[in-house]
């Protein structure tokens, strides 16, 4: 071989490392001691099921690199709930299958129809053959389903089961001077089920907060007759496409998606930590023959910034504060500053080929909301003390075509409309089209329809995509989303437009090997820099190429290698990243290990890259990687018999600039008890 043996660049030294903290070595010793203790004291208990691993992969499939953190918390929460209480697809009940909230209605109806006509599904491989599914979507639902025969639950005795999860997260040395509390996050979740009755509570203390400032709880009862569900306490709800009500996760508009899930008509206990987007009160789900209804009433205190009017005679709400973090004096002032009373009535009818419904929701605020009309961007923002939204929703399955849509209005001028179609001309080809139009003044405080704009208003768009099984084991999907924004947006002082195109190629030659290639191109417009008066227009072109290879040489190992390359114009800022994942589950011991090493180099924040990480249960981590450096983590899970589970994660980010190396570390510990 002519290969040169020693060609590594060792690099010049960067000066004495006075700037580096010594926390890593201390923490490393502690973690090492923990692992050693685990290894010594562990006892054989069979193979650990790494459901959290599957959940992270499922979430990444659904959300990709959308950093919409609020939605992600809810998404992870719902995925974990599903994993804890898997869907019995052989029940053939559409409402049961629809609990797989990330499926679209075509898939739900198709799966229910398949079970009704062909009998119980015996293998997950059978699901890939159901119309509307392919291997990827079958893999996606795999961790969340139960293939036991449909009538087994009826025979289950009433058993009291409960679980308690506690997360402790600390980033040493990252205490902000303005923080009023200690620099760690503590989360506790308790859930119990006893037959049809369930309940639980969630408490959270965010990093820098003084104490637990968020407490959420619920009691729920589920039935099968007229009374389907009653929830008292904190509630999450959704209807139709989510224009009127959707406090669950928001549909991510991936341009190459085979279809989009609907928000669905449902109420469920709220167990997440989004402190400002849930209902607190009571809700009931009723059903009579093919008609169903949801009634909801809520009174909740939410965060807001308030101010007096010019003559100091009235107190107004200036802005809503949605981060949920109360670590500074100003953010503590905003906590629970506003009382919101909400009510909703939603009813729908399930005919053979069509489902249609109507929903009304109203919100009343204790202090009137006043938009800042001196800012043209706020011209269409909501002002007043009350907001009502009425929505009509339908979905219809006509052979191999699913049509769905929703029209919502919050006064005669402000409306929102979504119309979509999913076509399956053949088993190997799927077409997905979505049209949307949100007027600039449309306001729904608990709505969250599909779209690219975070406000849920001021957007028009059309998206078209296809998925095609081009050859055996080879899947190609591509799509384009065109959006326009009739009024001003954040950092965009003019009506603007955007375009996103995506091509995905997936090759799955065997069960233990898969290769993915993604090409993504985004065009958008923002204000130009450095000009006075009317802003110039900067046309941003953001291109990303991503390649990923996953391989499982056996039951014990899973390896994944990924490369990302991004170019952002103007400025030709480039970002590149290469990462290596290793998951190891030793045989005979109830331990699992995750390891990642990632190196990145980006020209700036605009060309930053995102990499999903495995994390604690009910938690997620998607660090934005920017600058020159590395990010690595190691995580261990110990299944302590059937009653407990412990996870420890240590992550380290190292960033190099011209003269210094800055290291940031983070330690996460989780204990879950089941009893």
């Amino acid at each position: 071989m002519t290969s040169v043996v020693l060609s590594r660049q060792i690099g010049t030294s960067c000066g004495p490392p006075d700037f580096l903290r010594v926390t890593f070595s201390k923490l490393y010793k502690r973690i090492s001691a923990t692992f050693l203790f685990v290894l010594i004291t562990t006892f054989c208990n069979g193979q650990v099921v790494n459901i959290a691993n599957e959940i992270t992969e499922a979430a990444e499939m659904l959300f990709e690199d959308d950093p919409g953190q609020g939605s992600l918390e809810i998404l992870f929460d719902q995925l974990h709930d599903l994993a804890e209480n898997p869907v019995r697809i052989n029940s053939a009940g559409e409402s049961e299958i629809a609990r797989l909230f990330f499926l679209n209605e075509f898939q739900v109806q198709s799966l229910a129809e398949y079970v009704r006509s062909s009998g119980n599904i015996l293998s997950v491989y059978e699901i890939a053959a159901v119309p509307g599914f392919d291997r990827r979507s079958a893999e996606l639902i795999l961790p969340f389903i139960d293939l036991s025969p449909g009538d087994t639950r009826a025979a289950d005795p009433v058993r009291f089961r409960s679980s308690l999860i506690s997360n402790f997260i600390i980033s040493p040395g990252e205490k902000e001077p303005a923080d009023t509390g200690l620099p760690f996050r503590l989360l506790t979740k308790y859930r119990f089920t006893a037959g049809r009755l369930s309940g639980g509570f969630t408490t959270e203390k965010d990093k820098g907060e003084k104490m637990f400032d968020f407490l959420s709880g619920h009691l729920a009862w589920s039935g099968k007759g007229f009374m389907r569900k009653i929830i008292i306490g904190d509630i999450s709800s959704s209807f139709g496409q989510g224009l009127c009500i959707n406090t669950g996760f928001r549909t991510y508009l991936s341009p190459a998606a085979a279809a989009f899930p609907s928000s669905g008509n449902r109420i469920r206990p709220f167990t997440s930590t989004d402190e400002n987007n849930f209902f607190r009160g009571a809700a009931v789900h009723l059903a009579y023959r093919k008609a169903e209804m949801i009634l909801l009433a809520s009174h909740n205190l939410i965060d807001a910034a308030t101010a007096f009017s010019e003559d100091s005679s009235k107190l107004f709400t200036e802005t809503f504060y949605k981060s949920g973090i109360h670590n500074t004096l100003s953010s503590i002032e905003k906590k629970d500053a506003l009382a919101e009373t909400s009510a909703a009535i939603c009813s729908w009818y399930n005919a053979r080929h069509i489902k249609a419904g109507i929903c009304w929701s109203g919100s009343w605020f204790s202090l009137p909301v006043r938009a800042d009309l001196s800012d043209p961007g706020s011209l269409y923002e909501f002002s007043g003390s009350r907001n009502d939204v009425v929505a009509l929703h339908y979905s219809s399955m006509l052979g191999r075509i699913l049509l769905y849509g929703e029209l919502a209005m919050n006064d005669l001028n402000n409306y929102a409309m979504v119309q979509g179609a999913v076509l399956r001309p053949s088993d190997r080809l799927g077409v997905n089209v979505l049209l949307r139009n949100y007027s600039p003044g449309f306001t729904s405080f608990h709505g969250n329809g599909p779209g690219t704009s975070s406000s849920g208003s001021n957007e028009k768009g059309i998206l078209g995509a296809f998925t095609f099984e081009a050859a055996k084991h080879l899947f190609i999907s591509a799509g384009c989303d065109l959006s326009s924004y009739p009024w001003l947006r954040y950092r965009t002082g003019f009506p603007s437009s955007s375009r996103r195109t995506e091509i995905r190629i997936r090759y799955v030659p065997s069960e233990n090997l898969s290769a993915d290639l993604v090409c993504d191109m985004k065009y958008s417009m923002i204000n130009g820099d450095g000009t006075t008066g009317l802003p110039e227009i900067d046309h941003i072109l953001n291109r990303l190429i991503r390649g990923q290879l996953k391989y499982s040489p056996g039951d014990k190992f899973t390896l994944a290698t990924r490369i990302d390359f991004r170019i952002v114009n103007p400025g030709r800022s480039t970002g590149m990243m290469m990462l290596q994942d290793l998951v190891y589950r030793p045989a005979g011991v109830p331990l699992s290990f995750w390891f990642r090493y990632c190196i990145f180099n980006t020209g700036g924040w605009d060309s930053r890259l995102y990499a999903w990480e495995n994390d604690l249960l009910y938690s997620f981590s998607i660090p934005a990687l920017s600058g020159r450096g590395s990010r690595s983590y190691i995580m261990a899970e110990w299944e302590i018999g059937k009653i407990a589970e412990m996870r420890v994660k240590y992550a380290l980010t190292s960033i190099r600039d011209m003269y210094n190396i800055i290291e940031k570390d983070e330690l996460k510990v989780q204990l879950r008890l089941r009893f």
Binding site: V5, L6, N512, Y551
Partner: protein
């Protein structure tokens, strides 16, 4: 092969990815000389030894780069372990010493590198290699870390082609691709391309009984030609 070697078993690749060491079944010694851009001061001299021992194999390497004004030497001990015929893992401990004349201090560092090799199919091989995945706060001076991953395929009994990607901290993504063709028994031709410096490579190797001789040349878009020669003795 454009320095594509982390997934191709052999003597020198065993020190680029220590998991490949497990596939060295004979006691061998090798010597290599590389002359970068035909500048004498940029020469690298390397000596290495592989020692098979059941499922595991051991290796040792010493390399010296530079001249009296600046030199860098590397001493490495490596171990590769087979997990069946389709997978192996390896680890290598490295000691680096940089000497600089004049008032500058010498620098020395210890680090490690590790690799995995596996064969998803009979004619397909793949490998992953990590170099220095340690925090910089553990040492006095910074040293870059690197990830490399690659895959190769035996297109026929005499033709092997591979590609790999590498990224190091502070560096950019580098792609390499190359092939090795056995022209006739015991004679190999190699060629490749590396995106680092837009470099094309060409090489050949010949096996005389238990002695293997290799010659290699690599171009650089601005700096010229790098040439290298190596000899490997199969002792036992």
């Amino acid at each position: 092969m454009g320095s594509v070697c982390i997934m191709k078993t052999g003597f020198w690749p065993s020190f680029r990815n220590p998991s490949l060491l497990a596939f060295n079944s004979s006691l061998s010694a090798g010597f290599n000389y590389e002359n970068r851009f035909n500048i004498g001061q940029l020469g690298t001299r390397t000596a290495a030894l592989t020692i098979p021992s059941g499922k595991a194999s051991l290796g040792a390497l010493y390399s010296h780069f530079g001249y009296s004004g600046f030199s860098r030497s590397m001493t490495a001990l490596a171990c590769g372990l087979k997990f069946g015929e389709k997978m192996s893992a390896g680890i290598q401990l490295d000691y680096f010493l940089e000497k600089t004349s004049g008032e500058y201090e010498n620098h020395h560092s210890i680090t490690f590198e590790a690799g995995l090799f596996f064969k998803p199919a009979d004619n397909v091989s793949a490998a992953i290699h990590l170099f220095n995945p340690l925090p910089d706060s553990w040492r006095r001076s910074a040293m870059p870390a690197a990830i490399r991953a690659g895959a190769g395929i035996g297109l026929s009994r005499v033709l092997f082609a591979g590609a790999e990607a590498e990224m190091s901290t502070g560096g950019i993504l580098i792609f390499r691709t190359g092939f090795e063709y056995e022209v006739k028994e015991r004679l190999w031709l190699r060629a490749g391309f590396s995106s680092e410096g837009t470099s094309f490579t060409f090489g050949l190797g010949y096996l005389f009984k238990s002695v293997k001789i290799d010659l290699g040349f690599a171009s650089h878009e601005k700096l010229g030609i790098t040439s290298s020669a190596s000899i490997i003795f199969k002792i036992k």
